[in-house]
Amino acid sequence: MTRRLLARPYAFALVLGLALLAANVIAEPSFGRPSNWPEELAAMTPFALVALASTPAILSGGGGLDISVGPLMSLANVVLVVWLLPSRLGSAAVAVPLVLLLGAAAGALNGTLATVLRFQPVLATLCMLFVFSGLAEAIGDQPTSAPPNFTTHLAHSLGPVPGALLLLVIPAAVWLGLRRTPFVRTLYLVGGDDIAALTAGVRVHRVRIAAYALGGVFAATAGIALTALVQAASPDVGLRYTLIALAAVSLGGTPLGGGRGGLLGSFLGAASIYLLQTLLGALDVTSTWLQLIYGALLASGAILSAQVGARPRRSRA
């Protein structure tokens, strides 16, 4: 049982995450108090969701990569705060589907650029990164606080349930739902070898566009989580999230080559990075050194993770 668990690509992130959790509790005993959990979870959720948003495009292979998910999160946040919440469309039942739809459309646009129009995915999504950032800046050019709205609860608790958990349920439910269809399996097959998939009759472009769209939906969910957390328009935070999210994906055992790894790994990778940040904060590491330590740990972590996870199994005929 344990051995099978350790053979998983996310094994390293799981062990690292648990170790960092323990270290956090030792360094700052209040961290372990259940009453703090909803807030901690809410602070982590936007980042974790951006990490999830980066994953499907990478899984789809062919150099697939979406670096525009961070700014897309900001765009979703700004659209929500500036346009939807103050209007009659501000209820959860209307605003959430609209924002998710925005994410899906933006993701599908990325996917179309990267597949049908054959842009290099890094370049295509780099262009869109600027476009989304620019749109977010334009819409949220005035500091805007959110009016009282449904997301307030999401940063705290809904009864006994931490609110942020509800947002994490969205990607989990979407993913589990898709696993009941051939989509997820096909996504991994396309990521593993697109020529084999194409010649077997898989509509590779469609699968990849759907993967980017799925990432867009997750990024929009991150936008809702961000709104819940800051209750204001923050058009400029997304950019920072993008690259750290890639680190989380890689730490979680999803190689950039595609076809291996998965969402759970990215979540665990994101959780590890978040816990590392809080630990360094709790240990009063000066912010001057924070980035350096952080980078070094990530580099070693990503290397170790690649060694522990995705071990290539060679044929012994």
Partner: protein, 522 residues
Amino acid sequence: MIHAAATPPAHDVTPSPTNAAPLLQVRDVAKAFGATRAVRAATFELLAGEVVALVGENGSGKSTLVKLLGGVHRADAGEIRVDGADLSTRLAPHTTHAAGIAIVYQEVLVVPPRSVLDNVWLGADGLLRERIPTTVKRAEATATLTALLGSPPNLDAPAETLSLSERQACCIARALVRRPRILVLDEATSALDVATRDRLFALLSSAVADGMGVLFISHRMDEVAAIADRVTVLRSGETVASLAREEASTDVLVRHMTGSGHLVERPAAGSGRPAPGRVVLRARSIALRPGCAPFDVDVRAGELLGLAGLEGHGQDDFIKALCGLAPARGAVTVEQDDGGTAGIAGPREAARHGIAYLPRERKTEAIFPTLSVRENFGLPTLGLDGRLGCFRARRTAARLAAFVERLSIRLAGAEAPITSLSGGNQQKVLLARWLATRPRILLLNDPTRGIDLAAKRDLYRVLTELADDGLAVVMLSTEVDELVELMDRVLVFRDGTLGATLAGESLGRQRLVSAYFDGSGS
């Protein structure tokens, strides 16, 4: 619904109205890539219930034609009719199955990290809709793979844990489970071991009896003779002959393929060749796998030594042990010119002591696909082309020119991308790459796999000349004919150890093939 039951569907017993039209009719099909006219005028017919072999040298347009049938490329001109309906402008990879066509490509197209089951049913489902229930998928995959492999497969194992032959069996099963009416096998047998190939042929003959049409492409004349009802010959993208099985002797086919009146010149084996020189490479107490009997092998200068056996019986491990890629238990030593000896424990020592190795997987292990012919040729010997620390591309080109002539490499120019060459010519460039290092021992891992007869003939001639000049040549081969005709001595591997050594009088087809099987099974 593609199909609903695990049992083979009843094939139409009643003659269909379109019975008059051939199952597949290709007429004057043409396809050009830029200035290269890969297919000029291909014409042939395939009837239900027959096997048509498509033969031709590499570069004759066979693979392009297959890609047109698979909808990977679209024909510039001509007709591709299935049951009389012209599909030439409508074929796409996702529509070929609906048209009843299934294709197995020469490249072994599996998705390495995914399960055997997923690989077999790749492409059968829609984006969100599962078209075939999992239980049916498992039953069908098990039945087909058992028939191909001789034993039930582990459907949940990742494809990357399988041998090359088993992976190709997955690709063939992928085509068969879709129950095509037209099955195209593009060199699909070259990656199969002999036993799997024979099981495939048995499977095909029963499917053909049920009305399937098979388009069979192979460079192996024995395979063509074994299963083809008719043979169509392509030369430079044009159909030059369509022959019944009785007319299609190897000599006749070769004449049509090459366009010349000359038959294959069999290289003079053994008899006319000088006796081998002194021992240059010693392998002592080699144990390829735990528990396998250790054995010794000496390789002599000027010798052509063949390595043979069924796929996965140790010959591949042995050649990799000789070049230090996968050291085995035991010792491999090189006799140096000054009389000393040196152990080989890794590829660097092997290279330093004059051992050159040409790997099996040309596409992934040997060529640099983005580089030119010259760059591919010159990489290990760049040091020769420097002057005062500056690299001179012209010198490489000059050195290459000598090999182009000697090996009869056909290429547009030294700066053309390596991928613009046919497989046989790529292989010659790679051979030139290693010959340029002036090796004393040349190791070749199945160098003629998937290359055409003319290129093979060139290769045989060159290898014989090299051996006459004192080079020790060790060549793993899966082709019985070339082992028998070309080699001085053949080592047959069985179950991870040396099973038999054949040379001189004992080196004949029958003896060789029976040596593959002796001791295994019974």
